[in-house]
């Protein structure tokens, strides 16, 4: 709370002052605002967004000026923060969490001349674009590796909240695992939070206590990886390369790469060509990548690399039938591929997954 107010004050001072002493000779830089869910040092979700912000600053230099506000809860405060940014002359605002959605819509309605970019949401308007990463592609690759490495054929998934993005991740991991080991199963624990290290660690322990010998996570701290390390079990990092938190434990991590998108969209504003769009990029756009595979035999690493290449080229579309749900009902018929619309509403689990997403 203290820190947030402080950040806001500093921010206000920083973008209030130039307005008073406006230089008449130089073109003013375009102001770009970023609204962050966590602290920039969370070493996960928000950290990756901030890396992309810095990349944009490096790319455009004096032409832009960025402001970020961290620790913004997914509530009415978010709308105030966005209004403050709009009122202080920011032309483009990146709202980087799903829960900001309705506040983005409200703020955008009040400020039609400001462009809004909402991460992972689905509501658009003339001045609101949506952007997201096909995280499930990385999950599938993780699943393939887990299928090869798990002796018990049982993986554990530390999840956050029951939204389609998490369901896609669970299912893609399971499909990847079953592609190399048809008998593979997995267990899921949801902690109902994106960032709660002790609880994330406890969830990983609960999964390992029940025999899971590979851990993956859909929460933002390295705690599950640390818990795995303490028992000599291997796992995957989330959002960013977390190898330094648990020596010899991280197999790989799905790494979010927002920079290409941020640079392109800021460029569009500079050129005056910004349009409302809906972007869902994966390995092919460079928005998703995985750090070098580690702590596994070479043939498994090679298989991982080949899987990434297949997804990148479009040869492997991940959600390809036949796919049955937990009750055995065929959800995706043989020879068909789930379309993006069905994917973005996914609320059922693939056969082989223990647990419920409610």
């Amino acid at each position: 709370m203290l820190r947030r107010q402080f950040t806001r004050l500093v921010g206000a001072a920083a973008f209030g002052a130039p307005a008073l002493f406006r230089p008449a000779f130089a073109a003013d830089p375009v102001k770009v605002g970023f609204v962050y869910l966590g602290p920039v040092g969370d070493f996960g979700w928000t950290y990756q967004h901030d890396i992309a912000r810095k990349a944009a600053v490096d790319h455009y230099g004096d032409k832009i000026k960025t402001t970020y506000v961290e620790n913004v809860a997914e509530g009415p405060d978010a709308e105030k923060v966005m209004n403050d940014l709009a009122n202080s002359g920011h032309k483009l605002i990146f709202a980087t969490s799903f829960g900001y959605m309705n506040y983005v819509v409200n703020s955008a309605r009040k400020h039609p001349a400001v462009f809004y970019e909402h991460a992972t949401g689905y509501k658009r308007a003339a001045n609101i674009s949506d952007y997201n990463i096909r995280f499930y592609q990385g999950r599938y690759v993780q699943g393939v590796i887990a299928g090869k490495l798990s002796k018990a054929g049982l993986a554990g998934y530390v999840g956050s909240v029951p939204v389609p993005e998490v369901v896609q991740g669970v299912n893609a991991f399971m499909l990847g695992m079953q592609s190399v080991n048809p008998q593979a199963r997995m267990k899921v624990v949801l902690i109902n939070s994106w960032y709660d290290p002790p609880k994330e660690g406890d969830a990983a322990k609960a999964l390992m206590d029940q025999g899971c010998d590979i851990i993956t996570q859909h929460t933002d701290s390295p705690a599950p990886l640390q818990a795995a390390a303490s028992r000599g079990i291997k796992g995957f990092g989330q959002s960013t390369d977390m190898a330094k938190f648990a020596t010899g434990t991280q197999l790989s991590a799905s790494t979010d790469n927002w920079a290409p998108y941020y640079i392109k969209r800021i460029g569009d504003v500079l050129d005056g060509t910004w349009k409302s769009t809906d972007t869902w990029g994966g390995f092919d756009t460079g928005m998703l990548s995985m750090p070098p595979f580690a702590n596994m035999p070479e043939d498994v690493a090679a298989l991982g690399t080949a899987t990434i290449a297949d997804i990148k080229s479009g040869k492997n579309k991940v959600f390809v039938g036949p796919i049955a749900d937990q009750s055995g009902t065929v959800k995706v018929a043989e020879g068909t591929t789930m379309d993006d619309d069905a994917l973005s509403h996914m609320q059922w689990l693939v056969r082989g997954v223990d647990g419920k997403v409610t």
């Binding site: 709370m1 203290l2 820190r3 602290p39 040092g41 969370d42 070493f43 996960g44 950290y47 620790n71 554990g156 029951p162 267990k187 899921v188 624990v189 949801l190 902690i191 109902n192 960032y195 709660d196 290290p197 002790p198 609880k199 994330e200 660690g201 406890d202 969830a203 322990k205 609960a206 999964l207 390992m208 206590d209 029940q210 899971c212 701290s221 390295p222 705690a223 640390q226 303490s230 330094k244 938190f245 223990d354 647990g355 419920k356 409610t358």
Partner: protein, 307 residues
């Protein structure tokens, strides 16, 4: 099956440790008649002080010491305001929790998302290898054993030492203790400081052993559970241990049950420890005799020496 049970018990003992440490400290303060609701704040201060020190120096022992000092410092602040200046103890305690949360977040801003050294787990040759009992009782880090030792020492102190008698006298009738010549305020200061030190230690356990990371509000209400535990145990040390294990199991169970694949909404399971707290406190409060028998009579009352 046995393996599942052993694993569950090991995790429960670990989850119960911060609760046990903080609750033991609060028990001593309350026995001396001081209600300090700032446990959550003192734990967070200990967590960040311990993490930051261990991270800067690379020595976990120094981190643990720093956590003890940080908890004690906050407790002394509370003592000055509520004992010397006689501000309302409930309000002061709440203020201390709010202060501790904000202050730890401020200090911790630079420590989010970085690794720190972890307290090692002890492996006691022979003892750790006993089936079932071995890993459950003997495979933890040093703070787990320390929490048992401290609880034992506190129980023994209250039961059979002169010091324990004085503490209880101060908590049950400060006027009588004063009349007998005991320095009520210094004794209460010491009890509160002891409580703060243990809360700090509980915080260090969170940030150096349980989840070796710093995150804002990482104690997630454990300080409040510790305060509730003291009432749950009706101020009896042995019951504190039962209570800590019970709540530790409940916190862990909410995740464990999900992994078993039981079809219960995860949101309900997450609420389980809190629902449990309410239910248990209601049940305990029904037995008025038990409460009256054990509750320090001067709990929360300010003391002013007369004549």
């Amino acid at each position: 099956m046995t393996e599942l049970l052993v694993a569950f018990l090991v995790s429960t003992v670990a989850a119960a440790t911060p609760l046990l440490l903080a609750a033991t400290g609060e028990l001593v303060a309350e026995k001396a008649g001081v209600l300090n609701l700032g446990v959550e704040g003192m734990m967070l201060a200990g967590a960040i002080a311990g993490f930051a020190t261990a991270n800067e120096t690379g020595v976990t022992t120094l981190g643990v010491l720093a956590a003890l000092l940080a908890g004690t410092a906050l407790a002394l602040l509370f003592a000055v305001v509520s004992l010397t200046l006689q501000a309302n103890q409930t309000a002061t305690g709440l203020a201390l929790t709010i202060f501790g949360r904000g202050f730890s977040a401020l200090l911790g801003a630079g420590y989010v998302g970085i690794p720190a050294p972890t307290l090692p787990k002890l492996h006691i040759p022979l003892l750790s290898d006993i089936p079932i009992l071995g890993p459950v009782v003997f495979g933890h880090d040093i703070l787990v054993y320390l929490s048992f030792a401290i609880l034992g020492a506190v129980a023994w102190c209250f039961r059979s030492t002169h010091l324990g008698l004085i503490l209880r006298a101060v908590g049950d009738s400060h006027d009588a203790a004063h009349a007998l010549g005991y320095a009520v305020l210094p004794i209460r200061y010491a009890a509160v400081a002891f409580g703060g030190a243990l809360a700090g230690l509980a915080g260090a356990y969170m940030s150096l052993a349980y989840t070796p990371l710093w995150a804002q509000d990482m104690t997630a209400g454990r300080g409040w559970v510790a305060v509730a535990l003291v009432t749950f145990a009706a101020w009896r040390p042995f019951w504190l241990l039962i209570g800590a294990w019970f709540f530790g199991a409940l916190m862990y169970l909410s995740l464990y049950v999900q992994a078993l694949g039981v079809a219960v909404p995860s949101a309900l399971l997450s609420a389980l420890p809190y629902i449990g707290t309410v239910v248990v406190l209601v049940l305990i409060s029904r037995d008025r005799r038990l409460i009256r028998l054990h509750r320090p009579a001067m709990l929360g009352r300010p003391f002013q020496a007369r004549a």
